[in-house]
Symmetry: C2
Subunit: 225 residues, 2 copies
């Protein structure tokens, strides 16, 4: 291996540690010692810790966005200009999300990283992800728009983010929840079980009745701090 596997070892170790303990709580010395690699290797190969973090994300998101584009191309070929049902769109996204990390490590790490990125301070990672991979998401949202013609744009925007919260929150805290569920209801949940459970919930949530219109838009700001 000419292009030394040092790079790979660093990435493999870093993504696990980041997912377990967060970015700030994981030092380069943690990573390099566990990867049995010299400390300076990170700065030599990646330039900085921040660049390493982005490289960890890129290794998941590059194939994801590529595959998701391909999957949407297929849907376009299959449906032409017909409206694609919401269930099919959600199913496609779920399949793609499940496919990418299945090839390598585990979905858990991927989801945990996404959760961390979104809950991260100042959201500079969120911004990076949005800039780098925002176009696939935009494309997806446009298809969802056509699949839910009864929904006002703003309402759809919020509901999509509600559901994003559901998925990321659940899958990123999966281990803890899995333990509780196993203890309380002695049942072993796999990620695929969870996706099965998520499907009807997400569909119902997206198709929920519209909220009553605002009676008179923000009249008193008394408690809206």
């Amino acid at each position: 291996m000419a292009q030394s596997d040092t790079v790979t070892r660093i990435l493999d170790t870093a993504e696990v540690l980041f997912a377990e303990r967060g970015f700030a709580e994981t030092s380069l010395r943690n990573i390099t010692s566990k990867a049995r690699v010299n400390l300076a290797a990170v700065n030599y190969h990646f330039g900085s810790k921040k660049a390493l973090i982005q490289a960890v994300f890129a290794r998941y998101l590059d194939p994801f966005s590529q595959r998701f584009h391909e999957a949407l191309d297929e849907l376009h070929a299959r449906y032409g200009d017909d409206e694609i049902p919401l269930e099919v769109l959600l199913e496609t996204m779920a399949t793609t999300v499940l496919t990418v990390p299945a090839e390598r490590n585990s979905l858990k790490v991927f989801m945990r990283l996404l959760g961390l990125a979104y809950s991260q301070a100042q959201g500079h990672l969120r911004r990076y992800i949005h800039e780098q991979y925002g176009d696939v998401f935009t494309r997806f949202v446009e298809l969802v728009r056509r699949a839910t013609p009864g929904l006002p744009d703003a309402e759809r925007f919020w509901r999509l983010h509600f559901m994003l919260g559901t998925v990321i929150f659940t899958l990123s805290g999966l281990d803890a929840l899995r333990d509780i569920a196993a203890k309380e209801y002695n049942e072993q949940v796999s990620v695929r079980d969870l996706v099965r459970r998520l499907r009807p919930v997400v569909v119902s949530a997206m198709n929920a009745p519209l909220p009553p219109a605002l009676e008179e838009a923000h009249h008193d700001h008394a408690h809206s701090g």
Copy 2:
């Protein structure tokens, strides 16, 4: 003020900085200098940084759990042994969540802190919160159980956590989402607007049709990493 307001100044400053940048990214020197207080004051009054973090949470969660208990007492008095409708239960929780921080600072900080606690490394904060305030949550869940008799216990467990994810994720990332929504759909969303939007979504999600039963429980573990 005999019981010096140093303690209060530290807490007021700490909660804002924690909410903005996370726990690890906020140093005691950040806090004490912004609060115009001596560095050693934190360790003198709280003992350690970890204890300060818990104190910040306690200042929100103590009144919350007390008020939520009172609210549930009221519901019990009003409904006796009759089943309390799911909408009423959700409404009660929403009201309590909105009430507590409205008295002091802002809901945003409270939600951001909750989001951080849940996405935190190893979840030692999540454990602390669960141990300290788990009983109110348990009581609430029991009422939800009686309000949703058609739902298997495990299914209800997961759906409640799905909805917890929706709320915490949305409200803790509120600022960023608010900006996007304002730009794209030029509409000003207040927290109360969001709660109005959340209500039908959460109710529909909880009442979603049951997922199809597992065909044959985890036969192949091929991709369940």
